[in-house]
């Protein structure tokens, strides 16, 4: 089906230019891969976003793009793409970007911590916060005035910053290294960017998004500091979580912390026949059946961070991952820089708690803002 889509001379107008506008940071850019955009939002002759379909009338894939351009990706180098006539050269940064994104989304990432990704239109974001008190409905008599709940609200400011790194490919590399081989190294580049974002997200989980300590994560002690964090400490946290309408069903530990927690018999051993006499099916599922576990150096070895992914953290993106290339002729280098402008905002302070094995629960109970609702 070579040429069926006619991308060789229309790729820029139909896909690349609309894609760049879509990602435009000044209007609150949105993250999308080249192939997803081409399949769903590429424009037709009349400028309508209809997406590209293959011969089977299904959204196109990278394989369809290569076939249309009559290129074998296993045999092509980045230099081949950059020097090919027509619009094919515009694919090179997208391919580099795609490989970096693969690394960015590999393994545990900041996406495992956030409830969602929101596009914002400013480097400084003002986000509202509100706290409701006395919200329990009350018995109200006929024609009686309905009592008001107390609501405290305000706003907080979050500053976004830019993270960027550049790499340079020499001509020798571009000419000799085929795309599949290059992909592994670019993926590593994405992994390192992801690590940086992950660490920053974790830091926000622990410290909150305000430097005046008003949003810092609560620290709760354990039953016995000589035992450290054990199952009954998890149990106490889960019960309180259900009483404040939270699901602290995800866990972060340090490397050494994971060594201890994962060896707890409740997590390590199968509990089959001979386990419990009665299986308690608590309606609100106090004990989670599965619990995602992440590792981070932001947590100390004696601590376990429990969080509710759906209410803990938001990723604010001013400009999504941007990959730019330039040619340095005098050194025969192709420079590629990738950058992202983003920040983090917490949603609900109740959505995260740290169990600290060095603090006793008698002195470090749940803070007052985690007072039970039910």
């Amino acid at each position: 089906m070579s040429g069926a889509l006619g991308l060789k001379n229309s790729l820029y107008n139909r896909v690349i230019a609309p894609l760049q506008r879509y990602r435009d940071g000044e209007k609150g850019g949105k993250e999308i891969s080249f192939i997803d955009f081409a399949a769903t939002r590429a424009i037709d002759e009349s400028g309508r976003h209809v997406g590209l379909k293959n011969s089977a009338n299904e959204p196109i894939t990278w394989q369809n793009v290569w076939e249309d351009l009559a290129i074998d990706p296993a045999q092509v180098s980045l230099d081949n793409l950059l020097t090919t006539s027509g619009d094919v050269k515009y694919l090179a940064p997208e391919i580099v970007r795609g490989y970096i994104l693969k690394g960015l989304e590999a393994d545990q990432t900041y996406l495992d911590l956030v409830a969602g990704v929101e596009s914002v239109d400013s480097m400084t974001v003002t986000s509202p916060w509100l706290r409701m008190d006395d919200t329990n409905p009350e018995a109200v008599g006929e024609a009686e005035t309905i009592p008001l709940a107390d609501m405290v609200w305000g706003h907080k400011t979050i500053e976004l910053n830019k993270r960027a790194k550049a790499i340079q490919f020499s001509d020798e590399l571009l000419l000799r290294c085929k795309l599949p081989l290059l992909s592994y190294y670019l993926r590593k580049f994405g992994v390192m960017l992801a690590v940086d974002l992950y660490n920053e997200a974790m830091s926000t989980m622990v410290n909150g998004d305000q430097a005046d300590s008003s949003d810092t994560c609560a620290v709760v002690g354990v039953a016995s500091t000589s035992d450290g964090v054990v199952f009954k400490d998890f149990l106490r946290a889960w019960i309180r979580a259900r009483r404040i309408s939270m699901n602290w069903n995800s866990m972060v530990t340090s490397e050494a912390g994971a060594w201890g927690v994962l060896q707890l018999s409740e997590f390590a051993n199968q509990m089959g026949v001979g386990g419990t006499v009665v299986t308690i099916e608590t309606r609100n599922q106090v004990i989670p059946a599965r619990m995602p576990h992440l590792i981070s150096s932001v947590i100390t070895d004696d601590q376990v961070l429990l969080y509710d992914k759906s209410q803990a953290l938001l990723h604010l993106v001013f400009r999504p991952l941007l990959v730019e290339s330039e040619r340095i002729i005098m050194r025969q280098l192709q420079g590629t820089a990738c950058s992202i402008i983003c920040g983090w905002s917490t949603i609900d302070r109740n959505a995260r708690v740290i169990l600290d094995g060095t603090k006793a629960f008698s002195g470090y109970g749940f803070p007052s803002y985690m007072a039970p609702l039910v």
């Binding site: 920053e200 622990v206 600290d356 060095t358 803070p367």
Partner: protein, 121 residues
């Protein structure tokens, strides 16, 4: 070296760059290497500076109440107040300023004696 604590004692603070950590009501000496986040929190009031100069944490614990007041004025040997009324931290500082050898175990009485022998009054 100043000692600091969290303003909100229900939480914790950790500087990801330096690893400096404060949990709950812990009080720690401000590290030599202050990270960007620690500096930002100090400026914003999330971390509270407790006291002035501290030489020996153990001795400071013994002299507990001296930690709480704001940093004492710099010692002056101009006769404004008798040395016997000075705090032990001020006396230590005065000894150092006059190149008088002191050890952490030195009590206020010993420090006064050393100062007297050195001719500082």
């Amino acid at each position: 070296m100043k000692r600091i604590r969290l303003r909100d004692r229900t939480g914790m603070f950790r500087d990801p760059k330096t690893g400096f950590t404060l949990v709950g009501d812990e009080e720690k000496a401000l590290p030599q290497n202050i990270g960007d986040m620690t500096r930002r929190w100090l400026n914003a009031g999330g971390l509270v500076i407790l006291s002035g100069p501290v030489i020996d944490p153990d001795l400071e614990q013994e002299e507990g109440p001296e930690l709480i007041p704001p940093p004492p004025p710099p010692p002056q040997v101009d006769g404004r107040k008798p040395l016997a009324d000075w705090l032990i931290t001020e006396l230590r500082k005065l000894c150092r300023m006059n190149d008088i050898k002191i050890v952490p175990k030195d009590t206020k009485k010993i420090l006064l004696e050393k100062l007297r022998k050195a001719g500082v009054s």
